[in-house]
Every structure is written in C-alpha cells, then in structure tokens.
C-alpha cells in the first residue's frame, strides 16, 4: 500500500470512529408541548439486567406503557449503585420521556455524596414497592430464634458473622442500626452480590444473613433457610409467627423501596399523568402477579409523589446519621 492510500485509510478509520462515537452519545431532540405521550418513553434502570430494580422496572413498564398508549422501553445503565443512571436522567430534557426507575440506593448515594444530584433536581412520581428486609439463618444453624442470636452476640462481642450486600450500603446501614438498638457488636461481612452471600450462609461460612425474601423464596419454602426477624412495622400476614423488629423494642423498619422519578422542570400536567398511570399500573394483574411471585406484597409499598419525596428525604437523613457513625462520612 502506498503512503497516500495508507493515509486515506487512516482518515477513513478516524472518520468512522468520530461518526460512531458521536452517534452513541447523542441525546434525543424535543419539540414543543404536544399531547403527551406522542412517542415511546425511555425508562432508565441504574442496575444490570436481572436484578431487583430491573425486574421491577420491566414488570411495571409494560402495564404503564399500555395505559399511556406508548411503550415504556427499559434501558439498563448500570454503574456506581445507580448514580450513573441518575446523572443521565438529569442530562435529558425535562419532558417526561425519560423516566428513572430507582430505589433506596439513591438515598444512600445522596447521603454518601456519591451523586451530586440532590433530591430537588428530580420530581418523585410514585413509590411502587417497599421490600421487607429480614435476618435469616439456615436450618442447621445453632441459632433458632432472634433471642438466641442476641444472647450469643452479647456473650461474644464482634464474633457473630452477619452477611450483607455491599459496603457503605443499605444493608450495612440497617445492620448497624440494629446493632445500636440491640446493644450488640457483630462482624459485618460485605458481599458483592446476593448469590455469593447465600452460598456462604448455606456453606456455614456465615452465621446470619441480611436479605429479602424474594431472592431466596425457594429455600425458605423448603425450610432450609429460616427467617428469624423481619424489619417491618407490623406482623407479616404470610409469616404470623415471625417476630418483627418493634416486637423486640427496636424501631427499625427500613426496607428497600423502589419507585419512579423524573427530572425537575417536567410539566406538572405530565407528572400528574404519570402519577395516575403508575397508580393504575401497580394494580394491574400483570404487575400484581410479579409482585406476588417475588414476595414484594408482604407490606404496602405505594406512595404518591408528594409522600414519596418526603419518605426519600427521611431516609436520606437516617442514612446520613448512620453512615457518619460508621465512619463513611467524615
């Protein structure tokens, strides 16, 4: 090949690269206020496919799209506990065509300063679900009840191995609050994903695991995993004998919640329409079935936009306090 043709090949390659790179980063254009929605809507999920938030988003996006008359397409943008997705949402036009399917991790991120986007940069549309966190042991564990666990932890400070997902995470915060309330000290062992942690508990490498019911429903049903405490306000209908935190005098009822937000500045009429849509969508049989199959119906989760915003702010404050105490916020 001659120098000239090599030079032109390099030019072509560069041109292609520039074009493709430009194409990837492009946003969507908007026009004036026509009737909403007149084109498909994008629903952003800050986690990978198959995770809890992804399953939630896909389950609610379908009926919501049917109600709106335009499909809601779920797009995964995993990274930084959802912070990248939250950032993306603020960079899109505030036109209601970009929804953010998000959860408690947003509050943790705000508390930790992992995201620059405060709550006032979004408008909460609705909270859809409120999961119930539990402490679980195996069938063969030496602990049968929460009282056994407390007695052991009091006698052996720092020895009880409690598994949770992530460090400086929702799980660690709740475990820390529980330690405070119960007057114990445990050895919190962070795992990167729930699967690894469940295997570690079953293999006897952990004493107790902090986990919701949905991911381990099969093992709870066959009796090889036993929940010993639920962090819930009221007794759970499906588990009438399971103690809840307030029974023991611990006022910890935090759970992972999930809902929808849009960017600040979205037309109030559009927000209202979305709020109505998701309020309806959560009661459709399609969504109800998913909720039931994944045990997200243990307690009521729905909040309207206004209450949702207040609930998020309340959690941010709780997390901030707990994470400061844990030494993550200086």
């Amino acid at each position: 090949m001659t120098t000239k043709s090599r030079a032109s090949l390099i030019c072509v390659l560069l041109l292609v690269a520039v074009l493709v790179v430009g194409g990837c980063g492009g946003g969507s254009a908007t026009d004036g206020k026509a009737k909403y929605p007149e084109r498909p809507i994008e629903g952003i999920v800050g986690w990978g496919a198959g995770g809890g938030t992804d399953v939630f988003a896909r389950a609610i996006a379908k009926p919501a799209g049917e109600i709106l008359g335009q499909p809601v397409a779920v797009k995964n943008m995993p990274g930084s506990s959802g912070a990248i997705a939250g950032d993306y949402v603020t960079q899109q036009p505030a036109d209601g065509y970009t929804l953010w399917f998000m959860g408690s991790n947003y509050a943790v991120n705000v508390a930790l300063g992992r995201t620059p986007h405060k709550l006032d940069q979004y408008i909460p549309v609705a909270r859809i679900q409120h999961d119930t966190a539990m402490l679980q042991v195996t069938k063969t564990s030496k602990f049968k009840t929460i009282d056994d666990i407390i007695a052991y932890a009091k006698a052996n400070p720092g020895k009880l191995k409690v598994g949770g997902t992530g460090a400086a995470s929702f799980d660690e915060v709740v475990v820390a609050l529980w330690e405070d309330a119960a007057g114990i000290k445990v050895n919190y062992v962070p795992y990167e994903n729930g699967g690894q942690m469940q295997a570690a508990l079953l293999g006897g490498h952990l004493d107790v695991m902090f986990e919701e019911l949905g991911p381990v429903a099969g093992r709870v049903a066959d009796g090889s995993l036993i929940p010993v405490l639920a962090f819930s306000e009221k007794k759970l209908e499906k588990f009438p004998n399971l103690p809840v935190a307030p029974d023991k005098g611990w006022n910890i009822t935090l759970g992972n919640w999930r809902g929808v937000m849009v960017k600040k500045g979205t037309d109030p009429a559009v927000v209202k329409k979305l709020e109505e849509t998701f309020t309806k969508a959560k009661d459709t049989p399609t969504y109800k079935k998913v909720e039931k199959d994944t045990y997200l119906d243990l307690r009521a989760g729905y909040l309207n936009g206004k209450d949702y915003g207040a609930a998020i702010q309340k959690d941010i404050d709780i997390y901030k306090k707990a994470l400061t105490k844990l030494g993550y916020i200086k």
Binding site: M1, V20, K62, K75, G79, A83, I84, E192, G195, R219
Partner: protein
C-alpha cells in the same frame, strides 16, 4: 430413570426441538457479534417466553446461553475480537493460528472442544448435580482466594521469555481490577472524581481495546500488505490424530470448567482463563502457548462450555446464580412460578432432566450447525482490510457502548486500543494483563473477606486444607520457573567465565 425417559420424550416434541434449534442459532449470532452478549439475548427473550410452557421457555433460553458461550470464539479467532467475554482466552492462540493462515483449524478445534466440553459438562450435571452443589458450598473465602492465586501464579510460566515484562503486565491487570468503589470498604479508588469510573473498569472494554482495536491499529500502521493466504475455508473437524492429541486437554478443561462453573458466583470467563493457565502449567511445551498452539484453543473452549452447564447447578439446586446469565435466568424462573432449590429436583425431576438434556442437545447442535454457520461467517475475512477494518472498528465501538450504555466505556476501549498497540510493539505479553483483571478482583475481595471473618488472623488460609493445598501448589509453580531461570543463568556463567 423414568423421569429421564419422560424428559427425552418431552424434548423431541416439535415445539421443544424448535426452541432448542432456534435458541442455538440465536445464541450463535449474538455470541459472534461483539457487544451483543448471550446475557443480553436472554434478557430480550424473557418477555417473549411468558406465553410459552416453562420447559419450552427454558430450553430456548438455555440453548441461547450455551451456544453464545461457544460462538464468541468465532470472531475471537478470525478477527481477534472476542465476541463474548468467555472467549478472551481463545484469542491468545486462536488468532495466532489465523495469522498463520489456519483459521479453519482453529475454528474446527473450537467447535469440537466446545461441543465436547458441553456434552461432558451436561453428563456431569445429570449424574451428580445435587451432590456437586453441596460440595461447592464448602468453598468459603479462603478457598476462593486460593483458587484465584493459583490462576495468577501461572504468570511466571506464561512470561518465561521475559519475566519482568510479564510481571509488569500482570500488575497492570491487577491494578485495573482495583479501580472503582472498593467493594469491601465502600471507598472510591483511582476514580479521579469521575462518576463513570466509580463502578470500576468493565472487563469488556479492556478486552476489546487490548485485542481488537490494537490489532486494527497494527494492521493499518504496519501490516498493510494484507496477508493471510487463505484457501477455501472449511471447518473440518480436527483430524483423528489431532482429536487424540487434544483429548487430555479437553478432558482436563471440561472437568475444571464443570467444577469452576458450579462454584457460586464464578462464571465461564474465569473458568476459561484458569483452564488456559492450567493447560500451560501442565504442558510439556509451555513455551508454545501463545504462538498458535492447538491446546491453547482447546483448553478454554472446552472449559467455558462445561462451565456454562456447571453454572446451572447452583442455580437449579440451590437457587444461587453462578454467572450473569444465570442470574437473569433466576429471574425468569421466578416469573414462571418455579422456585429453584432442592424441592425442584424431587418435585419436578422431569423438568430438571428436560433442561439438562436440553443443554446436551444444544451442544450437539453446535457440532452439527456450527460448520455451516462458520463457513458463512468466515468468508468475511476475505473482504479487503480497508473495508473490513472500519467495520470491525464500528462493531467494537458500538459493542463497548452497548454493554452499559455508557460513553466512558467507549473512551476506555479506544484508550486501551492504543495502549495495547504500544505494549505489543515493545513485546509485552497481553495474557498476564487479562489474567490480572479477571482474577484480581476475586483474589482481593476473598482475601479481605477471609481476614474480616478471621478478625485479621492469617492462619485462616492454612486452617482450610483446600486453601492450603491450592496456595502451596501456587507457590511452587510460581517459584519453579524463576528458580529454573536463575539456575540456567548460573550454569551459563560458570560455563563461560568472564563472558
């Protein structure tokens, strides 16, 4: 046995056979295209399976999964562009064979080893799945750490030619694995305040950059008089003599792949890398690896398909996903009203056997269909490079963007492309970088988790027999090549004093 026969009758129903065949073809397409992973294809298909019977639905998903794991190697071998992360180890020797004008040989070995690995893995599932799942639970943090270190220790063998460069490359890989929010302490490391680096450097942009983009650069800058004299591309299966020669490697790779696949939380990519390392370690001619050695293709290819099957075991028997794709499948199980766990084995034995048989049939289909598929695909290599190069570049960029819909990944891909080009120019081996980045995170996390559990007592690594043996073997194989090197130098010095 009854449930086994029933399962067989189940599978040969037209709708189920169609699902397996269709799934295998879809999986092959998605695996062969860089940036479209098998995981993505499974996610896209799940909503479509709602209306299907559960067994048809899962036969479809599983065939996609198995064949995508295989077909990532096609573009890895032909264009040095791993179509799926599982194929990364295959690029090391596969592409070298292509450069020598023998792509059909590499592809043939890949098809043969993948299918055999998948079949052996499938047989292991049917025979001993629940028992194996229980054994896997014995693996705790110290054991996982031992396994990761064992994989890493092979760096001294891989880098026999130039130990210092191999170490530097491995350290670069280990360093890249530390970027992002520290998973054990929640503190950002080496993110330079960039939010997109907080979740760490994804493994795929590094891979596509180091291998594919750097190769495009190399061809444009240097190798302009393109090259490979190709005859007719036929994927002949390896000759009988070659099959016989590869058999020990394939058996070893399949066994290792099955075991690693069963370990919860570790997927086919790690299996392929560790299996490649072990093939190098036990080979009589380790220096041939990386130069187009058939064993270098057979080991990872048999292993990743076996691991794909193995990952089904913790999923079905314990309800614990062993890889990204099986995590997605767990969601699908729940949505279909099935609860994975020991009960599933006793109450739905027929369903389980249908799935296990399905994985075997999907792998058999690879053997039957892949040659035709490859023949079509492989002719792409005849397209003149000035056209082919930009097309590959487009696919690489789109592919790296598509993983997480994140621009940062595109910049990383391009950056690592330039880095890979420079490193190869100065004869740095790339395989230790991959070793470091694949195993680094595992090693670090499990090391620190062990110490959290033991409250800082290092004896935890020696108290576990499995961990102690793994670490002992690693230490030996780490030191041996260095010792041999020093010994040889001494001898040379003694033989030629004053030289």
């Amino acid at each position: 046995m009854d449930s086994f026969l029933a399962a067989l009758l189940h599978i040969i129903q037209p709708s189920n056979l169609a699902a397996v065949l269709g799934g295998a073809l879809l999986g092959m397409l998605s695996g062969a295209t860089p940036g479209v992973s098998g995981t993505m294809m499974v996610v896209l298909l799940i909503p479509l399976t709602y209306t299907l019977e559960p067994d048809t639905a899962f036969l479809l998903l599983i065939s996609v999964y198995c064949s995508a794991v295989f077909s990532g190697s096609i573009s890895a071998i032909l264009f040095r562009t791993p179509g799926a992360p599982e194929a990364v180890a295959t690029t090391l020797d596969g592409y070298e064979l292509t450069k020598q004008g023998k792509p059909h040989e590499a592809l043939g070995i890949s098809v043969y080893s993948s299918a055999l690995g998948g079949l052996l893995g499938g047989a292991a599932l049917i025979l001993v799945a629940p028992q194996l799942a229980k054994i896997a639970l014995a693996f705790g943090p110290p054991e996982y750490f031992g396994m990761a270190i064992m994989g890493l220790s092979v760096v001294t063998t891989l880098g026999a030619k130039n130990m210092v460069k191999a170490f530097l490359a491995a350290l670069l890989g280990l360093f890249l694995a530390t970027v992002g929010i520290d998973p054990m302490a929640g503190i950002p490391r080496f993110t330079f305040g960039l939010p997109s680096l907080m979740s760490g450097i994804d493994f795929i942009p590094v891979l596509i950059g180091l291998f594919a983009i750097s190769e495009i650069l190399r061809q444009v800058m240097e190798d302009t008089s393109v090259k490979v004299k190709l005859g007719k591309i036929r994927t002949s299966l390896p000759s009988f003599a070659m099959q016989k020669r590869l058999m020990p490697t394939i058996l070893g790779g399949s066994a290792l792949g099955t075991v690693i696949g069963i370990l919860p939380g570790i997927g086919a990519t790690t299996a392929a890398m560790v299996s490649y390392s072990e093939a190098v370690r036990w080979s009589k001619t380790p220096e041939k690896f990386g130069t187009g050695h058939p064993e270098g293709v057979a080991a990872p290819e048999s292993s990743n398909n076996a691991a794909a099957n193995g990952a089904m075991v913790p999923l079905l028997a314990l309800g614990i996903p062993g890889s990204a794709t099986t995590a997605v499948m767990l969601g699908a199980f729940i949505l279909h009203g099935l609860k994975p766990g020991p009960l599933l084995f006793t109450e739905q034995a027929e369903f389980i056997n249908t799935i296990f048989l399905g994985t075997m049939i999907a792998n058999a289909i690879i053997l039957l269909v892949a040659p035709f598929f490859i023949r079509g695909f492989a002719n792409i290599i005849r397209i003149p490079y000035p056209i082919l190069g930009p097309v590959i570049l487009v696919l690489c960029i789109v592919g790296s963007y598509a993983i997480r819909n994140n621009m940062m990944d595109v910049w990383l891909t391009l950056g690592f492309g330039v880095l890979g080009y420079i490193l190869e120019k100065y004869h740095f081996p790339l395989s230790p970088i991959i070793l470091g980045i694949v195993l680094g995170g595992l090693a670090e996390q499990e090391f620190r988790r062990s110490l959290i559990m033991s409250e800082g007592d290092y004896a935890i690594f020696l108290n576990s027999p499995i961990a102690a043996v793994l670490l002992g073997v690693s230490l030996l194989s780490f030191i041996a090549p260095i010792a041999v090197n020093i010994y040889k130098k001494r001898k040379a010095n003694v033989a030629a004093p004053g030289a």
